[in-house]
Structure formats: structure tokens, C-alpha cells
């Protein structure tokens, strides 16, 4: 396959970026999207050009590092996959593909396609945890949790924090991410003691980072590689109302 690329190049956080054209020949349909970029970068390095910076780590769809906005959609055209799990067989010979970084004020561009997602880390640090004494883990059966409850919490916990929700949202809102992180603890007994503090702190931090607010378009959930459901946002709203109206 021959692929034409329009890739966002930006030297650093301050520099002005632009879309640059590249041609990649000898692309195998079995290559992943990132492997196609590896081939292009090899070529650029051989020519003495600056290779394209992009985030990646596990390349198994579980770490949440890769973050490419491909032809107008985060993680490209397939549902339920990250960029590393997208293969070139999803494209046709001769296609022109536009590749941009996640666009959000709260996600400043580091370089090229790599963005700084530490806003997510600060949101987690503000309250996305439970405080427990150190020592041996207690026996799991001491704390009975219903299967359905556990499954629901697990569905929320499946969020890998890649930021595709923010990238897809027309308002660059982080509510799907934050709501998943609120929900995974709100659904379990371990999360209860700090539930009210948690949701207040995390929503405050989310607002302070400059993310937009949710208008319920559902784009986040549709593009989420882990299929995090919109019901998480409704749950976060309930938790937030209850913390504000009923909390101390």
C-alpha cells in the first residue's frame, strides 16, 4: 500500500505548528498504525530529518499512551480500539490520512503528536484514590460485594486515561474520564468514606485545568476505546449534587 499522510509538526509547546505532507510506500496492511509511523520515522532519520514524536508504550491497547487524532476521530475510524490496535487494513491504497494531536487547552502540545496529559494525573491526585493503612491486604471475602456491583465498578475502572474523550468532545470536556474515576470508587464500599470529598475535589480540579463542560453529545463514549458509558457522567453528577447539597 501507498499512504499519503498530513501530519501535525510542532517543534515545542511555544512554536507554531503546521500540517506537513509525507508519503509512505511499502505499507503492509498487517502493520499497525504506529508501525507505519515507525517506518516513516526510520526513513526520516535516514534522510537526516527530525523524526515525528508520538506517544506510545505497551502497543497492546491497555496503557493509554497512544493518542492520535486520525481523519477527524480520536484513535481513528474503528470503534473500541486505541491507535496502536488500529491496522493499515482499515485504510485503502492511496488514502490521504490527516493525523493531529489531541486538541484541548488543558492538553498542551509537547512536540508534534505528543501532548501533555498531566492534567489527568493532577485530577487523580486530587481525590481519585482511597486512603488505607499499609500492611497486609485483608481477606477479600471480609467485604461482600455483589457480582453486578463489582462488574459495574470494573466497567468504569476499564478507563485507561488516554484522553480520547477530551479529544472527541466538541467542548474538550473531561467529564467522561473524571466520571469513570469517580464511579469506580463510588460503586464500591471502599470508596464510601471519602466519596463526598473525592467528587468535590476531582470536579474542582477538572474545572481548574480548563476543560470544557459536558453538553451530552455522547461523542466521548462513542470514541472511548474502552466503551466507558455515559451513565458514569450521570452518576458523577448525582455524586456531586449529593456532596454539595447533603454534605457538610
Amino acid at each position: 500500500m501507498k499512504i499519503n499522510l498530513k501530519v501535525w509538526r510542532q517543534k515545542n509547546n511555544k512554536a507554531k505548528g503546521e500540517l506537513k505532507d509525507y508519503k509512505v510506500d511499502h505499507v503492509s496492511p498487517d502493520m499497525s498504525f504506529l508501525e507505519m509511523f515507525d517506518v516513516l520515522n526510520e526513513d526520516l532519520i535516514t534522510k537526516g530529518d527530525d523524526p515525528i514524536t508520538f506517544d506510545h508504550d505497551c502497543r497492546e491497547g491497555i496503557c493509554g499512551s497512544c493518542s492520535m487524532h486520525i481523519n477527524g476521530r480520536p484513535h481513528g475510524p474503528l470503534a473500541g480500539v486505541t491507535t496502536c490496535q488500529l491496522h493499515m487494513r482499515s485504510f485503502s491504497d492511496g488514502d490521504t490520512i490527516v493525523v493531529e494531536p489531541w486538541r484541548a487547552g488543558a492538553f498542551p502540545v509537547n512536540k508534534d503528536l505528543s501532548v501533555d496529559r498531566s492534567a489527568f494525573d493532577r485530577i487523580i491526585a486530587s481525590g481519585g484514590f482511597i486512603s488505607v493503612n499499609t500492611g497486609n491486604a485483608q481477606d477479600a471475602n471480609n467485604l461482600p460485594i455483589g457480582k453486578e456491583q463489582a462488574d459495574e465498578a470494573f466497567m468504569s475502572a476499564a478507563c485507561i486515561g488516554c484522553g480520547a474523550c477530551v479529544a472527541a468532545c466538541k467542548n474538550a470536556s473531561a467529564m467522561l474520564f473524571v466520571s469513570a474515576k469517580v464511579s469506580q470508587l463510588a460503586l464500591l464500599p471502599q470508596g464510601q468514606p471519602e466519596a463526598k470529598m473525592r467528587v468535590m475535589a476531582m470536579v474542582n480540579q477538572m474545572d481548574a485545568e480548563g476543560f470544557g463542560s459536558c453538553t451530552n453529545t455522547g461523542a466521548c463514549s462513542a470514541e472511548c476505546p474502552k466503551g466507558i458509558d455515559l451513565s458514569n457522567i450521570a452518576r458523577m453528577n448525582r455524586e456531586f449534587f449529593s456532596a454539595n447539597l447533603l454534605g457538610k
Binding site: 498530513k6 501535525w8 500540517l19 487524532h69 481523519n71 477527524g72 476521530r73 475510524p77 490527516v98 493531529e100 486538541r103 484541548a104 487547552g105 488543558a106 472527541a168 466538541k170 467542548n171 474538550a172 470536556s173 467529564m175 470536579v203 474542582n204 477538572m206 474545572d207 480548563g210 476543560f211 470544557g212 463542560s213 459536558c214 453538553t215 451530552n216 453529545t217 455522547g218 461523542a219 462513542a222 470514541e223 455515559l230 451513565s231 457522567i233 450521570a234 452518576r235 458523577m236 453528577n237 448525582r238 456531586f240 449534587f241 454539595n244 447539597l245
Partner: protein
């Protein structure tokens, strides 16, 4: 009390205000539609004109109507403010953005649809509310035969106190109503095809606005439960997206062809 302002200034508090005012306006639409459907009665406008007098003289309704104006303005301008805020959250736009791949058109264009509705409301208030309140509106005398229920009407040229006088003439068995005739203002107004077209387009905008807005308000309120989601969705699309805008749109079309 500081917690209230902190709560309402948060991103979730801000959208709660949008959702609550939006749902209030949905209930208003039902009341407004029920009243306006009196226009379609074949009584020369007697029922509609009586209703118009009630709506503009009843103290409780007057009180609620001022609240309504305030809420309409708040919902409109708060919405525009939030659109502007949300645009700031993405200072650099995408070169390629495929919105239709992951969300419905109506959900992405709420601000534009709402602005069309706001512009329509200004026109609508000018067409009827301002004419009724400040313009020269003729009076009509209706004579309803109490035995048969038949209604006849003719222009009234004298003077009465207030907007309506109603009495029964026992000799002839007629109930006589002399009333400020908003019906004729409506009927005359919709002789203009271009105005009817604007009204139809505005109702289409209202339809798309509510297809997203009604169910979205429930999501914002935290109501998202598989038990009720289908019901909320169906009411949002069926009642507020289809039935109500179509019934509203029928009125100008009815008068266009009646004339």
C-alpha cells in the same frame, strides 16, 4: 451561603441551571400549545380571545409570565455564555473533525438552534404580544345562542371597560361577549407566506433543539437508568421533537390556507 455560588460556578452546577430552566420551558410549551390550539376551534376566535384575556389579566398568570420571560432570557444568554466558555477549552481547532461519526447533529448545534429560537421569540413577541399590548386591536362582539350553542360575531365599534365584557341577554337567550380580538390579528398576520415560512423553520429548529435538549436535561440531573432511558428518549423525540412542534406549525399553515 458561599457553597451555593461555588456549586453553581462549577461546570456541573452551570449545566444544572441549563437543564432545569430548559425543562421548565418544556412545561411552558405544553401550556402555550394547549392555549393556542383554541385558534383551531370554529367559533370565530371566541375561545381564543377569552383565553387571551385570561392570560393577560389573571394576577397569578401575570406573575408567572414575568418569571417565564426571565427564565427564557436566562436560558438563552447563559447558554450562549457556556458555548463561548466551551469554545475556549479548545483554543486550536482540528483541521479534520468528523463530528457526525460519533454524535448527533442536533447535539452539536444546540447553540445555533437556540439562537434561531431566540430570534424567533423576538419576532413572535412583536407579532402578537406587542400588538395586543401596545397596538390598535379591534373589538368583536360574539353572540352565542345558549340553546343551540351557535356562535355569530360582528365587529364592535363602541367602548367597553377593560379587554372583555360578558353578559347574558335573557330575552333573546344569547350570551354576548365583547372582547379585544387577538384572533383577527393572528389570522391577518399569517396571510403573509414569508411569515408562515419563518414560523415553520423556527419550529423545525425547536424540534431539533428539544430532541437533544429534553433527554439531555435528565442526563444532567443524573437520571440515567436503563429502566427509564427509553421512556425519556421517546418523550423527548416523540412529544417534544415531533408532536409539539408540528402542532405549533399547523396554526400558521391553517391560517395561510384559511385566508
Amino acid at each position: 451561603m458561599n457553597w451555593i455560588s461555588t456549586f453553581l460556578k462549577s461546570s456541573i452546577g452551570k449545566k444544572l441551571l441549563m437543564g432545569l430552566t430548559g425543562l421548565f420551558l418544556c412545561t411552558f410549551l405544553i401550556v402555550h400549545l394547549t392555549g393556542n390550539l383554541q385558534l383551531l376551534k370554529h367559533d370565530g376566535g371566541l375561545a381564543f380571545n377569552t383565553y387571551a384575556v385570561f392570560m393577560t389579566t389573571n394576577p397569578l398568570i401575570k406573575f408567572v409570565s414575568y418569571g417565564l420571560y426571565a427564565i427564557i432570557l436566562f436560558h438563552a444568554f447563559w447558554g450562549l455564555y457556556l458555548v463561548a466558555q466551551n469554545r475556549k477549552a479548545r483554543p486550536v481547532q482540528y483541521a479534520a473533525y468528523d463530528g457526525k461519526a460519533n454524535s448527533k447533529w442536533s447535539s452539536r448545534w444546540m447553540g445555533v438552534l437556540g439562537t434561531i429560537i431566540l430570534a424567533f421569540l423576538v419576532l413572535h413577541m412583536w407579532n402578537f404580544w406587542a400588538q395586543y399590548k401596545f397596538g390598535t386591536v379591534p373589538y368583536t362582539q360574539y353572540e352565542r345562542n345558549l340553546a343551540t350553542g351557535e356562535v355569530s360575531f360582528s365587529p364592535f365599534t363602541g367602548e367597553i371597560k377593560g379587554k372583555m365584557e360578558k353578559f347574558v341577554d335573557n330575552q333573546s337567550g344569547l350570551e354576548i361577549t365583547i372582547v379585544k380580538d387577538l384572533y383577527i390579528v393572528v389570522a391577518d398576520g399569517f396571510k403573509a407566506g414569508w411569515l408562515v415560512l419563518i414560523y415553520i423553520i423556527s419550529m423545525a429548529a425547536l424540534s431539533f433543539h428539544l430532541v437533544h435538549g429534553f433527554s439531555s436535561a435528565f442526563q444532567t440531573l443524573g437520571v440515567n437508568n436503563k429502566k427509564y432511558n427509553a421512556l425519556i428518549q421517546n418523550i423527548g423525540v416523540g412529544v417534544f421533537g415531533i408532536i409539539i412542534p408540528i402542532l405549533f406549525a399547523i396554526m400558521p399553515v391553517y391560517f395561510l390556507f384559511l385566508n
